[in-house]
């Protein structure tokens, strides 16, 4: 056991009848890490979380937490606590009774119990709310109470199932930061499940991107976003323009891709471990494609016509039709000084430019 493999998931599979919810997953989670399980619904992320909590038994494989095998340990003896998606606040108990629920077995005196509960209420900035009932709380408060309830026993791991899913957008953004701060404050390993890529990017130290019961890629948010290794991951985190083709030449940190739709694209970006002739996609993020109204004189570019633009306030998404390509190319521009309004109407001819560094080579699916 080490801090590197504080939680160790080894060849975990979980089958529900013919469905393989988790299919031979192996990875480690570090001590004190804010770790996200990210993926679309049905990817097995919640099943994996529930196996960590002990609510599901793995069909195959083993889970270790802090060096201890979890197989024979029931949920109520595991050093983990969970924040449920619905928060699961006991409706028949007060806020203080909810928070103190995990302490019942500790044989504390009433004064000690009250003190611990008060500390927990302070932690979530809800001092004085102890006597309230569950029905009197707002969504954000319910979430805080669920957090305090799960943290009061200082578990080794806190599991969070879509913790912010039930909150509205403003509150969600605020809670993302608060959760992050809280995790640093208590120093407990947080493992959370989300289908929201923005949430995962904002809060986590590392993210496991999951699909079809497998963990595809595990990395920090910046690396996952900027150097994805799979087309799924590139597309799921943010958005991506894919130009399919094959490697024309490769070597010396440089590659040219002969695309089927828009001619050749040069890349000096990540993932250079391909050989000539390999089927690849040259992938470029929308924010890395800039719109130019004059024909560039140097660098990489392609010509297109504005098909439509979506104004999003702080930025705009502009869809550009490029000749020979079926789907429009998506670009994202900052609306600095009203730049979005100058893109012009439909069918306006523009040029798209990008730097070769931002072209990511990905295997084709």
């Amino acid at each position: 056991m080490s801090d590197e493999s504080f939680i160790s998931i080894k060849n975990i599979s979980k089958h529900f009848g013919d469905v393989r919810a988790c299919d031979d997953i192996t990875f480690d989670i570090r001590r004190g890490e804010f770790f996200a399980l990210l993926g679309p619904s049905g990817c097995g992320k919640t099943t994996l979380l529930r196996m960590l909590a002990g609510f599901e038994t793995p069909t195959m494989g083993e889970i270790f937490i802090d060096g201890q095998p979890m197989a024979a340990i029931p949920p109520y003896e595991r050093p983990v606590n969970m924040v449920f998606q619905s928060y699961a606040i006991f409706p028949h108990l007060s806020v203080a009774q909810n928070i103190g629920f995990g302490l019942r077995k500790d044989k504390l005196s009433k004064a000690e119990m009250d003190k611990k509960v008060d500390e927990a209420l302070d932690l979530i900035a809800m001092a004085g709310y102890g006597g309230r009932g569950a029905d009197e709380l707002s969504g954000g408060q319910r979430q805080r109470v669920a957090l305090a309830r799960a943290l009061i026993k200082k578990p080794k791991v806190l599991l969070l199932d879509e913790p912010l899913g039930a909150l509205d957008k403003k509150l969600r953004e605020q809670m993302q930061l608060e959760l992050r701060d809280l995790q640093r404050e208590v120093g407990i390993t947080f493992v959370f499940v989300t289908h929201d890529q923005e949430e995962a990017l904002t809060m986590s130290d590392r993210i496991a991107v999951m699909r079809d019961g497998k963990a595809l890629e595990i990395d920090g948010p910046v690396d996952l976003y900027e150097k994805p290794k799979t087309p799924f991951c590139a597309d799921f985190l943010g958005t991506m323009n894919f130009f399919e083709g094959s490697i024309d030449a490769i070597g010396g940190g440089e590659a040219t891709v002969k695309t089927t739709e828009v001619g050749t694209i040069k890349s000096t970006g990540p993932n250079m471990n391909f050989s000539t002739g390999d089927a690849v996609s040259a992938a470029i993020r929308p924010e890395n494609m800039k719109i130019s109204f004059d024909k560039p004189t140097s660098g990489s570019f392609m010509e297109g016509k504005v098909r439509a633009s979506a104004f999003l306030g702080d930025r705009a998404h502009v869809y550009i039709n490029v000749e020979g390509r079926k789907d429009p190319v998506l670009t994202a521009m900052q609306n600095m000084g009203g730049a979005a309004s100058r893109v012009g109407g439909d069918d306006h001819t523009v040029w798209l430019t990008w730097s070769d560094e931002s072209v990511i080579l990905l295997p084709q699916e």
Binding site: Q85, S86, A88, F90, H92, K153
Partner: protein, 281 residues
């Protein structure tokens, strides 16, 4: 996200509720309907305060028939029998129904689950006279004669489905993640049951018990068949009184029974209201 969408859907559904308030003449219909429902009962209660010997001949206000009814030893015995039967039958039926509901709602899937569910609720559909005859023949064929015991056993059988329905409904509507949360917070299966499942299930159990109690208290056909001499319950005794001639005493004792039932329902309503406000404060 999907929860949110469901919520909006529900709100939209609510808005589409039939605007019955706009139907013309609905008020009059409703009024007529309530008259139809309650006039006989009002008449019954009214004449219970008649001081005349004849039921339908109003002479003056008096509570003499109540006093007479209360001092009637046979009525006292019948009331006592009714209460014993209803209490014991309710306790047993509710316990069995609770266990049954827990198994059917929480026991996962097992062979014969649907069949069990059907069998436990089937007595609701069986004509009471059939049950009565069947129980009577069964008891006499095995030679069982426990007096009031026979009546109690018979009552338990038909009370179970009535107690079962609200308990199961409550269980089905209960969020199972609450029980998972308890187990996650270091509560064993038994503690989870004791501290989370039972308190949350309590309104269902109370509702089921009340229903069973009222059904048992009210039962006539089965009790008449099964109950021998000495195990006469109140409804059976009232019937025998009527056969001997209608006096306001029958009205008086029926009125008492009526208000007793209303009292139970009110008590339940207050208790459930209180437990609701308790979770709010």
């Amino acid at each position: 996200m999907s929860d949110h969408m469901n919520e909006t859907k529900n709100i939209m559904k609510k808005k589409k509720i039939l605007p019955v308030g706009h139907f013309r003449g609905l008020g009059a219909w409703t009024f007529a309907f309530f008259i139809y429902l309650y006039v006989p009962i009002v008449v019954l209660v009214f004449y219970s305060f008649n001081s005349n010997r004849m039921v339908m001949n109003w002479e003056g206000f008096g509570i003499s028939w109540y006093l007479k009814a209360f001092s009637n030893n046979n009525i006292q015995q019948a009331v006592l029998n009714s209460l014993i039967v209803a209490t014991v039958a309710t306790a047993c039926a509710t316990a069995i129904a609770t266990i049954g509901a827990l198994v059917l709602a929480r026991g996962g899937s097992f062979k014969g689950k649907t069949l069990s569910l059907g069998l436990i609720t089937l007595p609701l559909m069986v004509p009471e006279i059939v049950t009565a005859v069947a129980v009577l023949i069964f008891f006499s064929s095995i030679g069982m004669n426990l007096g009031l015991g026979n009546v109690i056993i018979a009552h338990i059988t038909f009370c179970i489905p009535f107690a079962f329905m609200p308990i199961r409904a409550r269980l089905e509507g209960m969020d199972t993640t609450l029980e998972q949360a308890a187990r996650d917070l270091y509560a064993t299966e038994w503690e989870t049951f004791r501290f989370v499942t039972v308190p949350l299930l309590m309104p269902g159990i109370v509702a089921g018990a009340m229903l069973a109690f009222v059904i048992s208290l009210d039962d006539f056909i089965i009790t008449l068949m099964v109950g021998g001499a000495g195990s006469t319950t109140l409804p059976v005794y009232i019937y025998s009184m009527i056969r001997r001639g209608l006096t306001p005493e029958v009205n008086a004792i029926s009125t008492v029974l009526l208000f007793f039932s209303i009292a139970i329902v009110t008590a339940y309503w207050i208790v459930s209201k209180k437990s609701q406000t308790k979770t709010v404060h």
